[in-house]
Amino acid sequence: MNWEVIVKYLPKLLEGAWLTLELVAIAVIAGLILALPMGIARASRHWYVRALPYGYIFFFRGTPLLVQLFLVYYGVAQFDIVRNGPLWPYLRDPYWCAILTMTMHTAAYIAEILRGAIQAVPPGEIEAARALGMSRAQAMLYIILPRAARIGLPAYSNEVILMLKASALASTVTLLELTGMARTIIARTYLPVEIFFAAGMFYLVIAYVLVRGFKLLERRLRVDACQGR
C-alpha cells in the first residue's frame, strides 16, 4: 500500500467528494418535489389517475440508471429539434444531464415510498379530519402528508444512501465526482488499489454521516413515537 500517493491526491478526492455530495443533494431534493404529485396520484382510488405515474415508475425502476443516463446524455442529441432548441446548452452538459437523470430516477422510487406511506396513514385519522369539516385537500395537506412524511422517512433515508452510490455512474459521462476523480488519478499514477481504496473510504464516511443525520432527524420528528413503537 502506497500511502503517500493517497495523501498527495487527497485534495483532489475531496474535490470529487464535494461534487458527489452536490449531485446527490440536488437529485434527492428535486426528486422529492417531483415525486410528491406522483405519489399522491399513485395512491388515488381512480385507475386513470394511477395509470400515468405507474407507467413512469415502471420504466424508471425496471431499467438500469446507466441506460437512462446514456439515453439523456447521448440519446437526445439524435433529434435536431433538441439540438436547435433552447435547452441544448444544458442537455449538452454532463453535469445537467446527470442531475436530470438522477432526479427522474430517484423520483420514481420516492413516489413509491410516498404511496406506501400515504396508504399506511390510519383511515381513522383521515375520517376524523373529514368529520371535522376539512376538505379533501386540507386533509391531505394538514393530516395525511405530515403523517406520511414520518412513516416514509426511514425508507427515504435508504433511498438517499442508494443515490449516493448511484452517483458513481456520473463518472461514465465524464463528470469528475468521487469515482470519476479516482479514475483520472489512476490514469496518471497507475495505482488502482490505493486510489479506489481511498475513494471507497470517502463513500463509507459520507454514508455513515448521512445515516447518523437521518437518525437524528427521526428522533427530532419523533418518528418512533408516531408509529406506536
Binding site: 438500469p64 440508471l65 437512462q68 446514456f70 447521448y74 452517483s167 458513481a168 469515482t179 489512476i186 463509507l204
Partner: protein, 231 residues
C-alpha cells in the same frame, strides 16, 4: 424482419444472453457468500460475527461501480504474480470473471442481511428439537433450518435479483459485451443513440418482467403446504 435495427438486432440479443449469464453466475456466487455471511453473523463466535458484520457493512457502503472497477483494475498485479507462479505470465481476470466477482460480492452483502433475518425468523424450538433428537449442528442446519429459511428469504432475494439484473449494465464499463456494450457499439456505427439505448432499456424491462414472473412462480412453489391464517 422487425427486430433488425440496421442489422444490430441479433448482436443485441446476444448481449442479452451475456447479461443473463452474468446475472446468474453472480447470483450463484452471491447466494453462497450471503449464506456464509449470515452464518457468520448469527454464530456465537465473536470474531466470526465481526467478520460477517464488516463484510456486509463495508460492501454495502461502497458503490457497485467502484467494486467493478476495483476488482478489474485492482487485481492486475495479483493476477500477474499468480500467473508467474503458474508459468503463464499473461494471466488476466477477464471482464466476465471480474463482473461476476464484483456483482456477486455486492449481492452477497445484501443477501447476508436477508438470510440473517430468515435464520432469526425460524422458531428457536425447531433447533432445540433437532438437538433433542441428537442431530449434529451441520445436520440441523441442512435438514431443519435451510429448507425453512428458503421460503422466508425468497421475497427479499427476489428484490435483490432485480437489482442485480440492472447492475449487470455496470460491467459494460470494463468492456464485457452485454446489452449496454452492444448498444454502445451499435450507436457508434449508426449514430442513433436514442434508438439503441431505448431498445436496450426495453430489453432490460423485458428481463425484469421475466424475473418477476419467475419469482412469483418460485414463491408459490416454496409455500406449498403453508396456509396463511386468515387475518
Amino acid at each position: 424482419m422487425i427486430f433488425d435495427l440496421h442489422g444490430f438486432g441479433p448482436a443485441l440479443l446476444a448481449g442479452a444472453l451475456m447479461t443473463i449469464q452474468l446475472a446468474l453466475s453472480a447470483l450463484c456466487l452471491g447466494l453462497v457468500l450471503g449464506l456464509l455471511g449470515a452464518l457468520a453473523k448469527t454464530s456465537p463466535h465473536k470474531p466470526l460475527q465481526w467478520l460477517g458484520g464488516s463484510y456486509s457493512t463495508i460492501v454495502r457502503g461502497v458503490p457497485e461501480l467502484l467494486w467493478v472497477l476495483l476488482i478489474y483494475f485492482g487485481t492486475v498485479n495479483l493476477m500477474r504474480s499468480i500467473g508467474e507462479a503458474l508459468g503463464k505470465p499473461d494471466l488476466e481476470l477477464n471482464a466476465f470473471a471480474a463482473g461476476t466477482i464484483a456483482l456477486g460480492l455486492c449481492f452477497g452483502a445484501y443477501a447476508t442481511e436477508v438470510f440473517r433475518g430468515a435464520i432469526l425468523a425460524i422458531p428457536k424450538g425447531h433447533r432445540e428439537a433437532g438437538q433433542a433428537l441428537g442431530l449434529s449442528s451441520p445436520r440441523i442446519f441442512w435438514r431443519l433450518i435451510l429448507p425453512q429459511m428458503w421460503r422466508i428469504a425468497l421475497p427479499g432475494l427476489g428484490n435483490l435479483f432485480m437489482i442485480l439484473m440492472k447492475d449487470t449494465a455496470l460491467v459494460s464499463v470494463i468492456g464485457l459485451e452485454e446489452i449496454m456494450r452492444r448498444a454502445q457499439i451499435a450507436v457508434t456505427a449508426s449514430k442513433e443513440p436514442f434508438t439503441f439505448f431505448l431498445v436496450a432499456a426495453f430489453i432490460y424491462l423485458g428481463l425484469t418482467v421475466l424475473a418477476m414472473i419467475g419469482m412469483h412462480f418460485l414463491e408459490k412453489r416454496s409455500s406449498r403446504g403453508f396456509v396463511r391464517s386468515a387475518s
